[in-house]
């Protein structure tokens, strides 16, 4: 495979472009996705290639963005809808949760709702409490939705393709602080199946399970710890629904120790779900120490940079947590 070094953002764009070239039913809609290229420049240039018909600027109306995507999907299109910041999914929750996610089941299996709802999540841009949330736990709790949270250019491209080809509503959470991070991505068409975790680093002493930007921080932490002789395995689930429990369980059986790291605030976060799943699995008997969660504080994200940093796990926090457990 020929590889290219591209940013996460470019990988997102390429996935959309390639799918839109492949399938005329795929199109993009959202606020300022056209000439502006999206708030983070993700869709820059797409208007030029696909025109206003398939790269659709919408009014500032998140409810109808998600709901119209559902309506278009159920009648034969494959919309990619963008919510400018994942924080504004609050406005689209009814469309997403009560409509898109439930249509198929309520209708006795007759509907297909092949839509992707893309949105950047997370803190780190100094944009404070209403532009920095990590809300994936809400969506994991909604039957009928799939939830994807890629951390690298390779993953984001391969998973977005799968998401677009999937016949279900997929919530696709992009990690905004890695938009400009580069990584190797095949030039050939590829897709990454849902429900397959990626072991981002193989190790034997402790399993660190991390999502989004925390994958990168965990890998950094692992390098620091390696110097101390602690060999960390870093697992990135990549998709939260469906969830690859097997890979995680195997790893925990191997290492006997699990640390779960996420940016979302700890209380009610995805970490609890993961901890409970592991506990209910055969890995329970292999646990040498209690499962530990390293997660965001239970506070809105503050504006001031130092406080903002302290609100979510940093490399040091992960390092310390590992040291405490081994």
């Amino acid at each position: 495979m020929t590889m290219a070094l591209i940013t996460y953002k470019e990988a997102v764009r390429q996935a959309m472009q390639e799918e839109m070239r492949r399938d005329e039913n795929v199109f993009l809609l959202g606020e300022d996705v056209g000439v502006y290229g999206g708030a983070f420049g993700v869709s820059l240039g797409m208007l030029e290639e696909f025109g206003e018909e398939r790269v659709r600027d919408t009014p500032i109306s998140e409810g109808v963005i998600a709901g119209a995507a559902a309506g278009a999907a159920v009648t034969g299109l494959r919309p990619i809808a963008e919510i400018m910041f994942s924080d504004f999914i609050t406005i689209a929750m009814d469309s997403l949760v009560n409509q898109a996610a439930k249509m198929r089941y309520m209708f006795g299996g007759k509907a297909k709702v092949p839509m992707v709802l893309r949105m950047p999540g997370g803190s780190g841009t100094g944009a404070a409490a209403q532009h920095s949330q990590s809300l994936e736990a809400w969506l994991v709790h909604v039957p009928g939705l799939k939830v994807v949270m890629p951390s690298t250019p390779y993953d984001v491209k391969g998973l977005l393709k799968t998401a677009i080809r999937d016949d279900n509503p997929v919530v696709f959470i992009e990690t905004k602080t890695v938009y400009n991070k580069k990584g190797e991505v095949p030039e050939e068409d590829y897709a990454i199946p849902f429900g397959v975790a990626d072991i981002k680093r193989v190790g034997k002493d402790v399993t660190v399970f991390a999502t989004g930007v925390m994958v990168h921080r965990s890998l950094e932490a692992a390098e620091i710890l390696a110097k101390e002789g602690i060999d960390v395995e870093v697992i990135d689930p990549r998709t939260l629904v469906p969830f690859d429990k097997e890979t995680l369980v195997k790893s925990v059986i191997k290492t006997g120790k699990l640390i779960i790291v996420h940016e979302a605030c700890k209380r009610g976060g995805f970490g609890g779900e993961v901890a409970a799943e592991v506990m209910e699995s055969e890995a329970f008997d292999y646990l040498d120490a209690p499962i530990k969660r390293v997660a965001g504080k239970n506070i809105p994200i503050p504006y001031c940079m130092e406080l903002e940093k302290s609100a979510v796990p940093q490399v040091d926090d992960i390092v310390n947590a590992v040291r405490e457990i081994v």
Binding site: G63, A68, T75, R104, G108
Partner: protein, 319 residues
């Protein structure tokens, strides 16, 4: 407007079907043979049937919690409707949806909705599909007067207007959203007045007259089909029965209800058909009897159905 006898009799029959279907549901509900909740549209049949009559067979609708009439208007199978309400696996949703979620995608019915205002955005999206795929199809989006105060109404109508989507917003103004009269809940007198906010036509008609409803809907549908964009069509009508099972009708008077019962859309239409020598009283009686029989058959069909097996519980969450 040439409405031949066959067409008019078809409407008449569908109005009767709606009435008898719902009367049966009401009776079954009282006996505990239908559970959950159900919202009956008795008294509103003309709007549902007159409006859907303006559609082609492959046009689409989105409906509401009070949607049996629209469903029947869109040629639903009475058997499968009744089976669904009884929670049977031969129902429209295999017993998983019930009254509030009947959908018939093959016939273009994108579903009733338990969320007030939940259908607006879906209808707009469905209309976008028609526009982008140039199918020439139109979407009717049904909603109640009360639903017009949800934010989803506003977002959807604005988007439909700026994109000139082939959708017609059909307001069944039955004077109340649960206990809230339109005059208490809504800043404007007629919901169609809100068309002004979206630069689209809005028209208010007598919702108890299927011909007036048909004509107004047809004009809006043709406009939408020809690419000129959405409209609001509002029909003024009345809900005879309580909002749902829990309603003690404390918010309105018996006199008001009786006055509207005197304006029964089905009776009035029968009189119109007879007076204009389209049918005789005898023919009308025969149609009525036939419609009743259809409901009896629907009940039989439903009763013969089995409840969905436990093995279906976790099926159909994902495609």
């Amino acid at each position: 407007m040439t409405l031949n006898k066959e067409t008019l009799l078809n409407w008449y029959k569908k109005m009767l079907h709606t009435r008898f279907f719902e009367s049966q549901v009401d009776a079954f509900f009282a006996k505990g043979m239908i559970h959950g909740t159900t919202h009956l549209s008795i008294g509103q049949e003309a709007f549902a049937i007159g409006s859907t009559a303006a559609l082609h067979a492959d046009d689409l609708i989105t409906s509401t919690h009070r949607g049996h009439g629209e469903c029947i208007g869109k040629d639903a199978d009475l058997n499968r409707m009744m089976a669904e309400l009884m929670g049977k696996s031969n129902g429209y949703c295999k017993g998983k949806g019930g009254s509030m979620h009947i959908a018939d995608l093959e016939k273009g019915n994108l579903g009733a909705n338990g969320v007030v205002g939940g259908g607006f955005a879906i209808a707009v999206g469905a209309a976008l599909t028609q526009q982008m795929k140039k199918t020439g199809k139109v979407v009717l989006c049904f909603f109640g007067d009360g639903a017009s105060n949800e934010g989803s109404f506003h977002e959807a109508l604005n988007l439909a207007s700026i994109w000139k989507l082939p959708v017609v917003f059909m307001c069944t103004n039955n004077h109340y959203g649960m206990s809230m009269s339109v005059s208490r809940s809504t800043a404007v007198a007629n919901i169609a007045d809100r068309a002004a906010s979206y630069e689209m036509p809005g028209i208010t008609v007598d919702g108890n007259d299927p011909i007036k409803v048909y004509e107004a809907t047809l004009a809006a549908v043709e406009r939408a089909r020809s690419g000129e964009g959405p409209s609001i069509v509002e029909g003024i009508t009345y809900r005879w029965l309580g909002h749902s099972k829990s309603d003690a009708n404390r918010y309105r008077t018996k006199e008001e209800i009786e006055a509207w019962k005197d304006r029964c859309p089905i009776k009035a239409f029968e009189q119109y058909l007879i007076k204009n020598n389209i049918i005789s009283q005898q023919e009308s009686d025969e149609i009525t009897a036939g419609a009743k029989d259809d409901i009896v058959r629907a009940v039989e069909f439903a009763q013969q159905g089995s409840y969905p097996g436990i093995e279906t519980l976790e099926e159909d969450v994902y495609a």
